[in-house]
């Protein structure tokens, strides 16, 4: 049997199944979408996508499909080429699994929304564009997917568009993404100019690629994956409904930037500058996000910052020239982060819209399933041995410790790992255990299967996924096999340290005294002063600068002095001078005649 053919056709079948709910209502008037049909579509798609994944894992088959070709210029053709290799084939089932669970959850979460079908259609569109991005073989198709997820993110964040903060957050997301897109477009333009191709196969650097286009790629990843510098949109994006946060901003969209870097890894494999940049940028993002998460009181924001921190960790992996580890972390992170968001969504809905963890407590007795899955997710996030997060996170930190690299990056990453433990334990303690701080008459129940099934499914995934994926991927780079004991258990050590610290601190904070303000606490709470600094400073200066240009340069200088009015005033001066010469006295005239003749005679002799 031709395995390649089955591989290719089943992958395309996956995509086509996803397109069905969009196309069918356009064709016939009788078929309408409902949330359940869309959920079932995604479930079917997931099951179908398991086929190519198993084929790949079984026999290492990879596929490359060229659909129709767009003859853009004479010698620059852009084919729609789809690449089914390890990355895309493994990510498809994961993304579809997570999306299926989220969609099933959303049928309960958004049940009271009148436009629920539109919401589901948006989520489906987002998923399709994300998968296009994953499966793209040339930068053009990737760019289509890239822009698609950007647009859908905008539409979904501002779902409750009556709320001003939601609109602001959506605009913020789009703007920051756009700044990153500049980098991507620059790189694409440069590649089209020098290498005359956008195909991934032809992108391996036989000669040294100058740093500038690669910087563009890093800029794109910074914008999309919220690395430090272009990060404020991610916490702000929590204005969207919880399924949106779960799908977009934990599992799929924010990893698009990292995925771009994974795909284009052959370009900067040997460019030490870019690798070091990724490393340091990732380390900085990790630590910064973790610091900000320490003092957040909104449960969704804590999870958002933890996403940002993990993205920094993925960037660190890329900086270590280990794209496979980054991909592994993407896959495992998807499971437990989505689950964390879904648990938080269930908690929020049950508490009637309360998102502040200072007003939650003792939920362990009241929402047992949710809170136990919350615990599983948090443990996985911290990298507890043999849960999903351990396989990827620990490997990254091991490689970090045993590589020849920047010790500052190492320090930051380790510090961030311990901070991860701190804020995770803080969240767990404040939400689940301790005294109850919720209003008394809150009816909460989690009997709805639409809530329980997705969460438990994802919990299963968080536990098993790490082991499953690791057992099946071939390691392309030899992992470090021997290292001293201290180095081996560094990750565990710092995590344990963080846990102990957090428990101690939570004991100290049991009483409700208002803390005195100290600068460190202020730094963490105001997100590092980044938002007001950049947003106000940059914008004010650019606006006043352009105002000055418009008024001083254009109006005053060009128009008045040099251009039209200047011409008029100079001619006026000349006219006045000439008029004063014509006095009217014949004596002056005859005198000037004689003078002119004299001058003429003298000048020719």
């Amino acid at each position: 049997m031709d395995l390649t053919l089955i591989l290719t056709s089943s992958t395309l079948l996956t995509l086509t199944i996803l397109l069905t709910p969009i196309i069918l209502p356009l064709l016939s008037n009788s078929s309408k979408n409902t949330p359940t049909t869309i959920t079932n579509t995604v479930k079917t798609s997931f099951l179908v996508s398991l086929i190519p994944m198993t084929i790949h894992l079984y026999s290492g088959t990879e596929g490359l499909t060229y659909l129709w070709e767009w003859k853009f210029l004479m010698n620059f053709k852009i084919p729609i080429s789809l690449k089914m290799d390890f990355y895309s084939l493994t990510f498809f089932p994961i993304a579809l699994f997570v999306s299926w669970s989220i969609l099933q959850f959303a049928t309960w979460y958004m049940a009271s929304d009148p436009h629920i079908t539109k919401f589901f259609t948006y989520l489906l569109l987002f998923l399709i564009t994300m998968l296009i991005l994953i499966i793209a073989n040339n930068l053009f198709i990737l760019f289509i997917g890239w822009e698609g997820v950007g647009i859908m993110s905008f539409l979904l964040i501002s779902w409750w568009h009556g709320r001003a903060e939601a609109n602001t957050a959506a605009i913020q997301a789009v703007l920051y993404n756009r700044i990153g897109d500049i980098g991507l477009i620059f790189c694409m333009a440069w590649l089209a100019y020098t290498m005359n191709t956008w195909e991934m196969q032809q992108l391996s650097s036989t000669h040294q690629i100058p740093t500038l286009p690669l910087l563009g790629l890093v800029l794109a990843a910074t914008g999309k994956s919220a690395q430090f510098g272009l990060h404020p949109w991610l916490p702000a994006a929590m204005e969207g409904p919880t399924p949106v946060s779960a799908l977009l901003h934990s599992s799929t969209m924010v990893v698009a930037g990292i995925f771009l870097l994974i795909r284009t890894n052959p370009l900067f494999n040997n460019n030490q500058t870019i690798l070091t940049l990724c490393l340091c940028l990732g380390a900085l993002s990790t630590l910064f996000a973790a610091t900000c998460a320490l003092t957040q009181n909104d449960i969704k924001k804590i999870i958002a910052f933890s996403t940002s921190s993990q993205l920094g960790l993925m960037m660190v992996a890329i900086g270590l020239n280990l794209p496979e580890l980054a991909f592994l972390h993407i896959s495992t992170h998807a499971f437990f982060k989505a689950m964390l968001f879904l648990c938080s969504g269930s908690i929020i809905h049950n508490l009637n819209g309360e998102q502040d963890i200072r007003k939650m407590g003792g939920l362990q007795k009241m929402l047992p399933t949710t809170t136990s899955c919350l615990t599983i997710g948090n443990l996985a996030l911290m990298g507890t041995p043999f849960l999903a997060g351990f396989y990827s996170k620990d490997q990254i930190i091991e490689s970090l410790n045993t590589s020849y690299l920047n010790s500052w990056a190492l320090l930051l990453t380790l510090l961030a790992t311990s901070f991860t433990a701190v804020y995770t334990i803080r969240m767990t303690t404040l939400v689940q255990s301790g005294f109850v701080r919720i209003p008394p008459l809150t009816p909460m129940n989690e009997n709805n299967p639409a809530v329980i099934n997705p969460i438990t499914r994802l919990a299963l995934g968080s536990i098993m996924a790490g082991m499953l994926i690791t057992s099946y991927i071939p390691p392309t780079k030899t992992p470090p096999t021997t290292m001293p004991l201290n180095i081996k258990i560094t990750a565990l050590l710092v995590t344990a340290l963080g846990i102990i610290l957090a428990l101690e601190l939570s004991k100290m904070a049991q009483t409700l005294i208002i803390k005195k303000q100290n600068p460190l606490h202020n730094f963490s709470t105001s997100l590092g002063y980044f938002n007001p600094l950049t947003h106000r400073f940059n914008v004010t200066h650019i606006m006043t600068g352009s105002q000055t240009i418009a008024s001083h340069l254009m109006d005053l200088s060009w128009y008045k002095l040099l251009g039209p009015e200047g011409l008029a005033s100079s001619q006026l001066a000349a006219t006045k001078l000439a008029t004063s010469l014509h006095s009217g006295s014949i004596k002056a005239y005859l005198g000037s005649f004689a003078l002119s003749i004299l001058i003429m005679i003298i000048s020719t002799y």
Binding site: T575, A578, T579, H582, Y589, F593, I597, I601
Partner: protein
Amino acid sequence: PQAKLIFTLSLLLGTTITISSNHWVMAWAGLEINTLAILPLISKSHHPRAIEAATKYFLTQATASALVLFSSMNNAWYTGQWDITQLTHPMSCLILTSALAMKLGLAPFHFWFPEVLQGSSLTTGLLLSTAMKFPPITLLYMTSHSLNPTILTYMAIISTALGGWMGLNQTQTRKILAFSSITHLGWMTIIVSYSPKLTLLNFYLYILMTTATFLALNTIKATKLSTLMTTWAKTPSLNAMLLLTLLSLAGLPPLTGFLPKWLIIQELTKQDMSLAATTISLLSLLGLFFYLRLAYCATITLPPHTTNHMKQ
């Protein structure tokens, strides 16, 4: 009545003598007859300004004719012949250049022209601008090969400049037309050493356009800019025609006035005088402004509004 006949006939006689002469004294005689004949025409209305204009005219023209005679005698002294086309002595050429400039009204010898034109009536002004220029232009044409091109170019550019700048500040139509005549003379003289035929072409077309303008202004008796603004009610079609003529004077394609300018610029560029060509074209833009102002006041606006809108 008979006086007018005598004067007109004398004018014609003088012009014909100068044109068809081959000997310098004949040319000079024709010039003198012309001067004397037109003097009473200028001072016909016994207005002090007219008398003043006539006096100025007489003085300058007399000087100019004396200079013509002087240069021809100088040449005869040195070369022994009185042929107009054989003017070889350099001093004579120089003096002749200044004399002709004075006769025509080229800068820097143009100061008399606006005031003389202002002092005379519109018809006399027409005669002054066209008929009186005919003999000197002919002399210029005949002696074009012996005149110093540099001096001519300088005079031409200064004429265009002065004509343009002075014309901007005028409200009397006769003065405006005087300065326009000075500008056109500038165009004519710049090309005379390279292609005298173009000078003649320019001169003929200029006569055509100026005659049209003068006669139109004479019909509506518009001597001031403000008079022009109210003429649209009296003779609307004439006003429209006046607009076209003025723009033709300015040298706008596709009107006739563009033709001599174009050919002159082409000839100048061929002679590697692109700078002069550029300068003179740019300076004629000044003229365009006041022609446009005239046209604007006459045709485009309806007083007492100063803009083209129907309502306030």
